[in-house]
Structures are given as structure tokens and as C-alpha cells.
Symmetry: C2
Subunit: 62 residues, 2 copies
């Protein structure tokens, strides 16, 4: 499967935000994340990097 | 593998931009796409949707 782990960077600090993410949907200043189980998180952030083979998505905020 | 096909939407028209994409790296108004073979494209666009299980990334421009 191709789910990714989403990390968020704030003030140089990288924290894991959500696992098993299958879709990212930017909406203005926010990003709607949906995981494999249908759970969703809406975060105020921007996309820094999407690494599909590394299964890692980096967002930033602040 | 988890590469994706990147599409770009302009004026409601959806066109395939790049296959086998492994990383997206937004840089200001632009997005740097890199494929499995190391080939890169820099496009002026924004990310509309990243669908990891559907292996599809939608950008928009214009």
C-alpha cells in the first residue's frame, strides 16, 4: 500500500501528525488529511514536501 | 511502487503532465516534480489533491 506518514514542522521541530494517510486536499490555508480508515484531520499548514517512495509528507506551520 | 501520475487542470481541462512521479516539492509559486528516473519538471501551479492510493496528483494553474 502507498499510505504515507504526515509530519508537521513548526519552529524547526518535526512532529508526527497522522499515519496511514491516503489523501491530502488543500483548501485555502488549510489541508484536509484522510487516512485509510476514513478518519480526517483539518490542519492550517502548507505542504513542504511529498515523498511518495519514502512514504513521507512534510507540512509546515507557524 | 508508489509513484503517481501528475495531472494539471487549466480552465477545466485536465491534462497528464508527468508519470512515475516520486517527489513533489513546492517552492513559492512553483512545484518541483521529480520522477523515478531523476527527471525533473518545475511548474507554476498549486496542489489541488494528492491521492496516494489512486496514484494520482492533481495540480491547477491559470
Amino acid at each position: 500500500m502507498c499510505e504515507a506518514v504526515v509530519f508537521i514542522v513548526k519552529d524547526g521541530d518535526k512532529k508526527q501528525l497522522m499515519e496511514n494517510v491516503v489523501t491530502l486536499h488543500p483548501e485555502g490555508e488549510k489541508i484536509l488529511l484522510t487516512d485509510l480508515f476514513g478518519e480526517q484531520k483539518l490542519v492550517t499548514a502548507k505542504i513542504e514536501k511529498v515523498d511518495l517512495t519514502g512514504h513521507e509528507i512534510i507540512l509546515s506551520t507557524g
